[in-house]
């Protein structure tokens, strides 16, 4: 498109309305809508990545502040107003620490392990949608979907990539060549295998209700209200499934009361005992990002995602953030309230209670879906 035509076309768009003025400006530059769309899509991906990095920092701070509140003290208070800049200080401190590696450690796998952990944590968010379709107030001609990508097996992608994260922990435990690390890694793999089953079975029930494996379809199936006031969230259709999902989520992210891989009274620090500096920092970062992903997926699957009252669809991401925040607060709350289980109790609970309950839930859901044909 030559320049004069571009200007003329831009002017034509500008006359369409005040909001189109922004779109018109891009046309003067000579970009068409597809270029702009690509740019916006890249922007959304970058923003999601940036927010995930932020999530780990914010969660560290939130965890320490809430822990402090629950233990009747202030928590971090010195860096910045009320200590809000504490995560930055922590990161700087970790960056300048010496990177140690035990002499007998396997140097390749020792370096690879934290990378696997954090890569899996970031990548798992790739198919999690976090907002409705939007045109950014008329900037784009056709709406884009808020989220990195939307593919028709999104639920499975999240599950598959999350299950890759266990390799980071297991390899960290093995390659450190230390008995505490090895025990931590072994416990972690056993725990994750056990709880993944219940987790996947809970997911399957929701997928059956929605009739789609795409997370966006699952969210959109929860739009609207029953009798005009109860939101059509799957939480109300799948209360057992939701509880199973949250419990399995705590176990999958290795948090208290299921934090056996790093049970400090028995294992020093478990799989990350021998790690220091940035290599160490990647493990908690992966854990916090996994928490955020778990909560985001729970929001999409059970709490109606960005659907909620009072706000127009364009601002649905505010509801999404609020719901994710609520679940994350519950995670932290549970961690500082409930004491750690014993390891055999964890296994017994996983295999003898949680998994049968999930299977029963699946069967009942399947029967009801068939009967009511929803």
């Amino acid at each position: 498109m030559h320049a004069a035509g571009a200007v003329a076309f831009g002017a034509a768009r500008r006359s369409g309305g005040p909001l189109n003025a922004v779109g018109g400006w891009w046309f003067v530059v000579g970009w068409d809508d597809m270029d702009l769309r690509t740019l916006v899509q890249l922007g959304i991906i970058g923003f999601t990545f940036f927010m995930l990095i932020n999530a780990s920092a914010i969660l560290v701070l939130a965890e320490r502040k809430i822990m402090g509140f629950m233990q009747q003290r202030y928590g971090p208070y010195l860096v910045g107003p009320h200590g809000v800049l504490q995560p930055l200080a922590d990161i700087l401190k970790l960056l300048f620490k010496e990177e140690l590696r035990p002499k007998d450690a396997d140097k390749w796998l020792f370096t690879l392990a934290p990378m696997i952990s954090v890569t899996a944590a970031f990548a798992a968010f790739a198919t999690v949608p976090w907002g409705a379709e939007t045109t950014f107030f008329g900037l784009l001609e056709t709406p884009v979907k808020l989220g990195v990508s939307d593919i028709n097996v999104g639920v499975l992608v999240v599950f598959a990539i999350t299950s890759m994260g266990v390799y980071g922990i297991v390899l960290a435990g093995w390659s450190s060549n230390s008995k505490y690390s090895l025990l931590g890694g072994l416990r972690s793999s056993a725990q994750m295998i056990s709880y993944e089953l219940a987790y996947a079975t809970a997911l399957a029930s929701v997928v059956m209700l929605a009739g789609s494996l795409s997370l966006r379809d699952v969210v959109d199936a929860q739009a609207g209200y029953w009798w005009g006031f109860i939101p059509r969230w799957y939480l109300f259709l799948q209360p057992v499934g939701f509880i199973i999902y949250v419990i399995a989520g705590v176990a999958e992210t290795n948090r208290a009361p299921f934090d056996f891989p790093e049970a400090e009274q028995e294992l020093v620090a478990g799989y990350n005992t021998e790690y220091s500096s940035v290599r160490f920092a990647l493990f908690p970062q992966a854990e916090y990002i996994n928490m955020a992903t778990m909560s985001a997926v729970a929001t999409d699957l059970y709490l109606g995602g960005w659907h909620g009252p009072f706000l127009p669809a364009e601002y649905g991401w505010i509801w999404f953030l609020a719901k994710v925040g609520l679940i994350l607060f519950t995670y932290i709350w549970v961690r500082w309230t409930v004491p750690r289980y014993r390891y055999d109790q964890l296994m017994q609970f996983g295999w003898k209670w949680l998994f049968p309950a999930a299977v029963l839930n699946l069967i009942v859901t399947a029967a009801l879906v068939l009967y009511f044909n929803v």
Binding site: V153, F159, M164, V170, L171, S189
Partner: protein, 177 residues
């Protein structure tokens, strides 16, 4: 074009990683390379418009079975293959099981060459019902599994169940409850 590049990249990773799997002394490295190979395979499935199969590949093989492998290798604590006791004789000159295994390997190579030689017209679309997106969809896959191939499907699951029961039976020592 980018599809072709991606295909050769994924295929290269899959073949290269698989070749390296058998070249490793350390079984941990072999496992990691095998997972890499599975990942590349999943990528190839996605290129074939079969995202469900790709994800099943990652969840079942890379996610579940390889964790089990890792678990066993870690527990056996065998970082190096025992080089001293390694039989350096030519596989065909070994006795008994060793020679049988070598024969099977030769047979596999012959079979693969034969099968690949028979394949023709790879650039033509695969004859089948409808387009690839429909064939690869979860709905269609489930329908086919529970209608046309239900016997094979159920027989496989019974086989796996039998293997599991057998493993539990073997692992249970005498005198245990």
């Amino acid at each position: 074009m980018s599809d072709t590049i991606l295909f050769y990249l994924l295929a290269g990773v899959a073949i290269g990683a698989s070749a390296l799997v058998i070249g490793q002394r350390n079984p941990m490295y072999s496992i990691m390379l095998l997972i890499t190979s599975f990942g590349a395979l999943a990528g190839l499935y996605i290129q074939l418009d079969a995202p469900f199969v790709a994800m099943a590949q990652i969840i079942v093989y890379a996610g579940a079975i390889m964790v089990l492998f890792l678990f066993v290798v870690m527990l056996l604590n065998a970082p190096q293959e025992d080089a001293a006791g390694w039989d350096r004789a030519h596989p065909m000159r070994r006795t008994g099981v060793g020679r049988f295994g070598a024969l099977l390997a030769v047979l596999l190579v012959v079979q693969l060459t034969w099968a690949l030689g028979r394949v023709a017209g790879l650039d033509a679309p695969v004859a089948g019902r409808g387009d690839a997106a429909v064939v690869g969809s979860v709905r269609e896959l489930g329908r086919v599994l529970f209608t046309d191939y239900v016997f094979a499907f159920e027989a496989t699951s019974i086989l796996i169940l039998a293997a599991m029961v057998g493993a539990v039976l073997l692992a249970r020592r005498e005198g245990d409850r």
